[in-house]
Subunit: 229 residues, 2 copies
């Protein structure tokens, strides 16, 4: 499904070059559940952004093949179309639209499927019920706690039934029990066919995945199947 070949992402700060990603290659097949771990600053969010075509590798520093098409050759509109219809994102700092309330935030991705408004409202309410946020539908992001914002972001990421779900620390602001509920939900979605990539610092989260990739200083240092218990 996805092939990253020799991807590098460089930032230039004056005359210093920072290799946020350094010659990274990996293949992700449909239906996988990949966990990405590594120290702070090792390149995890950068890798996730490139996987989700929110960002591109540095020019001439690798290829991203999505179903064998090199996406670095596609135009912005085509990238946006792929991203909006097929990918779901949960960002490290949630990234809800501050001017929309919880319900409206979850309805945004549903506009791409062009369903009638009443149907979109119903679907958004069901998603928010799934993450136990029914009691806060009309709250704006700045009227929600950290974990509540994170749960709204999770509901929004799942709205379009994405084929690829990319989650950066999806349970970082949730207590253990609530975090486990979200992870069980992700596991169920994966069993139903969604390909999932989760960045996490929590070793417990990694037990839900099927494959564990370790990053360090922008490089993949290990990439193995997880023993399913």
């Amino acid at each position: 499904m996805i092939k990253l070949k020799n991807i590098s992402k460089q930032y230039h700060m004056g005359d210093v070059v920072i290799n946020a990603l350094d010659n990274v290659s990996m293949t992700i097949s449909r239906g996988e559940f990949v966990i990405i771990m590594g120290p702070s600053g090792s390149g995890k969010s950068t890798l996730l952004n490139i996987l989700g075509v929110l960002d591109l590798p540095t020019r001439n520093h690798g290829a991203y093949l999505l179903e064998d098409v090199d996406i670095t050759e596609l135009g912005d509109r085509e990238l946006a179309r792929i991203r909006n219809r097929h990918f779901g994102f949960i960002f490290q700092s949630y990234n809800l639209f501050p001017e929309l309330n919880a319900l409206e935030n979850v309805m945004v991705p549903l506009t791409y499927a062009k369903r009638p408004k009443a149907e979109r409202i119903k679907r958004a309410e069901e998603l928010l019920e799934m993450v136990e946020m029914t009691h806060r539908l009309k709250h704006f992001p700045n009227q929600l706690s950290g974990g509540e914002q994170q749960r709204v972001a999770i509901a929004r990421a799942l709205a379009n039934k994405p084929t690829l779900l990319l989650a950066d620390e999806p349970t970082g602001n949730l207590a253990t029990e609530q975090g486990n509920e979200i992870l069980s939900l992700l596991k169920k979605l994966n069993e139903q066919g969604t390909t999932i990539v989760v960045v996490t610092h929590d070793p417990k989260v990694s037990t839900y995945g099927k494959r564990l990739v370790h990053l360090q200083d922008g490089k993949i240092v290990s990439d193995k199947a997880i023993e399913q218990s």
Copy 2:
């Protein structure tokens, strides 16, 4: 040092009243290391903001005595003075100044102590070295990873050698090893006299504290000493 008496914090959403904090009373003595846990939305960040005088209880809903002075009677300038000179904050979403780089962010609290600039730069560099961020001094917040931003926020919170340190999920974006380094640092500061209140979802973090307070639906449901191992 701090006495909260029957504190309530209410938000009015149309005709619904949300009790973010509901009749909370607690006393914090100098040198304590208090851990606050509880489900998402239970009132932890609200409690921390009130403890740090960033927010006030709802009118006529309780008193906050700081060294026996009712701070709800003080004016904004006096509250700001106490806060800037004596308290250090690590917020749930870091809250760095986006227009200042890492070094400048850490230097901001040092302006209150009115030391010469060269001294402030040196102190800020030492703090950033303590959280292993020496390699990113000139980066702006949007050029830093989540955990790097969190570490800069920690350095900034410690800049003024605060008597009271309030930390909301201070290791939420750090890998286990890096998180443990920060917690050992907090433990050392506490042994040297800093009063510390940490909100966390991570049971491992709670092992560093001396007292554990559980919140649920805005109420304190348990408040006990932690067995030191």
